[in-house]
Amino acid sequence: MEQNEASRRDRVYIDDAVMDIYKALTDDPNPEQSPFATYKDIFLLAACLGFQHGRRKQLSSGARTTIRLDVFREEGLGLLKALAIADTGDVAVLQKLGDVLTIAEEYAHAGIYDIKAQLLDERGRPLWNLVGLLTS
């Protein structure tokens, strides 16, 4: 994949403004309270939800947390690319890794609020809310 200097990237960014949501869903030792094992899992789910609801949000210019790309592995990376292809409707985007990552970041930045609403703000334990979301 071509990576020109300007868009060369080896990580995705999460806006620090939403990090409390990420932490709330992974911190607790009780599995019913923390359905997710890693931030990457949340990120990918958020990106998918964002895309599903057709909502994208730019990251603020403030502080950010990063997830290195190698954490995503093959399949995670594949999903990121799929999002980019679905979003642009074309394969040309595959040549710009920077764009692929930005698309995923922005969908994730919108989708994370869906996750918050459905898992944390609803009654019941996040784990069961998540299962409900998946099986509906």
Partner: protein
């Protein structure tokens, strides 16, 4: 400092190289340089100043390059202007040379060639000349620039100190020459340091904060200890209670009437425990599946992406299995896929070329094929995940049901035992239930204690870090305090001594001025003494104790000034010559006479630039025994140049 020799080169009206040797004899230490007005006395005086201090210090220096020298050279050629001074100080011999060059232009104007340069050499015992790398520093240690005007003395300024408005000048003279300035600046800077340290100190946390933090951490440690102790207690209580329950179980089992019930209860409790464990495991398992929830939700997106990829392939934009390299090879070998050769300009060639041009870049091609494969794998995994989760959820429901059933039965059994006709059974059962309740609340308490302990640990960690920082600060604060104290004490010492020192000096100068003034003026004047009061007014007091200044003649005022200056020279103990440029010009002859009688004794080397008018008759005779060297400056109207002539 004793001046030995001054050499001028192309300096103003001094064309070429010309030299003056000053008299250094201990008795005949006066050098007289005669010249009519405009003949170059002032130029030579300026030359001396310039050599020592440079153009940045000497005011109104104007053009230094000899005009005659400029005339004599061709356009494009250089003129060197320099002044060289040989002098000695503290038994050391020095030679100093300041120079500047200029270029003559075609139109006759002068362009500076370089900035002025100065070099200084010190002659050591063997006769070798050692470089002094910082001539300015050396000169300023011998005769500082800011006091030079009191020794290299411009005659025009002779009555500067005796005017009524001269208070500030008098004060400044004393301040500078007697180095009060140094004390004053030292005090000022020490006070500045004091301010700075204080400011820093205020910002630095000291002991107070450290103590507060140490208090806090002690408190947290107490809380932690308490929680841990209680935790251990509660654990013991739980154990005890459980033990009691086991004992009661044993007793109930031994009672024939209820034995069976009891046994059943024990079995059910065991089963419930197992089921509970199962439930926990299930939840964990479910969590491992839900963590990759994205796989499930991504399904339609993957499908969509795959569709696009397919679409591109169908449209022929991505050769499905024909790669760019292959097509390039064909073109090169001019052979079709089927093996049939074709011509370079033929239609087959053209179509292959089109195919190649329309195909996407190699890198993208690979990318696309890889992505396609990835996504297909992804899709398969996603479907699996969802069905697994459903299965596990169902299991969870089953286990929950089982537990419900078990608990229901357990309640029934408890009721039966509670309601037993046998008193002791009822008692035992009641006790057992109490213990059960106790255990349950203990467990809750343990959980809460765990929370407290964790929180206390975190706090302790945080406070420890803060204490380390505060300790550093506190040390810093102590250090700053010490520095502050020192600066304060230093400034205070100067404060205490300054006035006293200033007064001491003022009185010394007053006394000396008085002495000199008396020796210079007409003996039977009606003046009593010279006064230099705390208001720094230099005045002459008559026998009635009043200031006589308005009644001083111009000449007397000038003599007063001169007395003051020479008094300062003596009190300051600067080893410097007195160089005076036409100092007698405005004095009456009788003042001139008395001054010339006394001046030589006031200094170790005296250099006088005088007009013939100034030094005549008795004045001349007074100086005569002390004159060691004499020169005349001859100005040639035609050339505009001065020549130095030894007399």
């Amino acid at each position: 400092m004793k001046l030995e020799r001054l050499t001028l080169e192309n300096f103003r009206q001094y064309y070429g190289r010309q030299r003056i040797e000053f008299s250094k004899d201990s008795k005949r230490h006066v050098t007289v340089i005669h010249g009519v007005n405009g003949s170059g006395k002032t130029s030579m005086f300026i030359a001396l100043n310039w050599c020592l201090y440079g153009k940045d210090v000497v005011e109104n220096i104007g053009n230094l390059i000899s005009k005659e020298a400029m005339q004599q050279i061709a356009p494009g050629e250089l003129v060197q202007t320099s002044v060289e001074l040989a002098f000695s100080h503290d038994e050391q011999k020095y030679i100093m040379r300041r120079s500047v060059a200029a270029v003559r232009q075609v139109d006759g104007t002068i362009e500076p060639y370089n900035n002025e340069e100065v070099i200084m050499k010190r002659i050591i015992a063997s006769g070798e000349a050692k470089d002094e790398l910082s001539p300015g520093t050396v000169i300023n240690a011998i005769l500082p620039a800011n006091v030079r005007t009191y020794f290299l003395f411009d005659g025009e300024k002779i009555d500067n100190f005796a005017r009524p408005e001269a208070v500030s000048e008098v004060k400044e003279a004393i301040y500078l020459v007697l180095r009060l300035e140094i004390l004053d600046r030292a005090r000022k800077h020490l006070k500045e340091m004091e301010r700075r340290y204080l400011k820093d100190l205020v910002q630095t946390s000291g002991d107070a904060e450290l103590n507060a933090l140490e208090q806090q951490i002690k408190q947290e440690e107490v809380v932690q200890k308490q929680a841990e102790t209680r935790y251990a207690e509660v654990q013991r209580e739980i154990e005890l209670a459980r033990q009691r329950m086991t004992e009661i179980d044993q007793e109930l089992r031994e009672k024939a009437v209820v034995s069976q019930l009891q046994q059943e209860r024990e079995q059910i409790e065991a089963s419930a425990k197992v089921a509970s464990k199962e439930q926990e495991n299930l939840i964990e398992e479910i969590q491992t599946k839900t963590t990759s929830a994205y796989m499930i939700v991504a399904s339609p997106i993957i499908a969509h992406a795959l569709a696009i990829l397919d679409d591109k392939r169908v449209k022929g934009q991505i050769p499905s299995n024909v790669r760019q390299q292959f097509v390039e090879d064909l073109l090169q070998r001019l052979v079709c896929i089927c093996g049939r050769p074709f011509a370079e300009d033929g239609s087959e060639y053209k179509s292959l070329l089109t195919l190649l041009e329309n195909s996407v870049p190699r890198s993208l091609e690979n990318e696309v094929l890889d992505t396609n494969n990835q996504l297909l794998v992804f899709q398969a995994n996603g479907d699996n995940r969802l069905s697994e989760i459903k299965r596990l959820m169902q299991q969870r429901v089953n286990v929950k049901e089982r537990i419900q059933i078990l608990e229901a039965r357990l309640s029934e059994l408890e009721l039966q035992l509670e309601g037993s006709p046998l008193e002791d059974v009822r008692q035992l059962e009641k006790k057992r239930q109490h213990f059960q309740a106790d255990v349950e609340s203990y467990i809750v308490e343990c959980s809460s204690l765990e929370g407290h302990i964790a929180k206390a640990n975190k706090q302790i960690e945080k406070l420890t870090k803060e204490i380390t920082q505060a300790r550093k600060s506190s040390d810093k604060a102590k250090h700053l305090s010490r520095k502050l104290e020192l600066a304060q004490q230093g400034a205070k010492a100067i404060d205490e001594k300054y006035q006293q020192t200033a007064d001491d000096m003022r009185l010394q100068i007053e006394a000396k001025t008085n002495e000199i003034f008396k020796s210079l003026v007409w003996k039977d004047s009606h003046f009593q003494r010279v006064g230099l009061g705390p208001d720094y007014n230099l005045e002459v007091i008559d026998r009635y104790g009043t200031a006589a200044r308005p009644e001083l003649s111009a000449g007397e005022r000038q003599v007063l000034s001169l007395s003051f200056i020479t008094a300062m020279a003596q009190v300051s103990e600067e080893q410097a010559p007195l160089v005076m440029d036409t100092p007698f010009g405005r004095l009456s002859s009788h003042h001139r006479n008395s001054i010339t009688a006394n001046l030589p004794s006031l200094t170790s080397q005296l250099i006088l630039f005088v007009t013939d008018e100034e030094l005549r008759d008795e004045a001349r005779q007074n100086l005569e025994p002390y004159i060691g060297a004499e020169y005349r400056l001859n100005f040639d109207d035609a050339t505009g140049c001065t020549a130095i002539e030894e007399c």
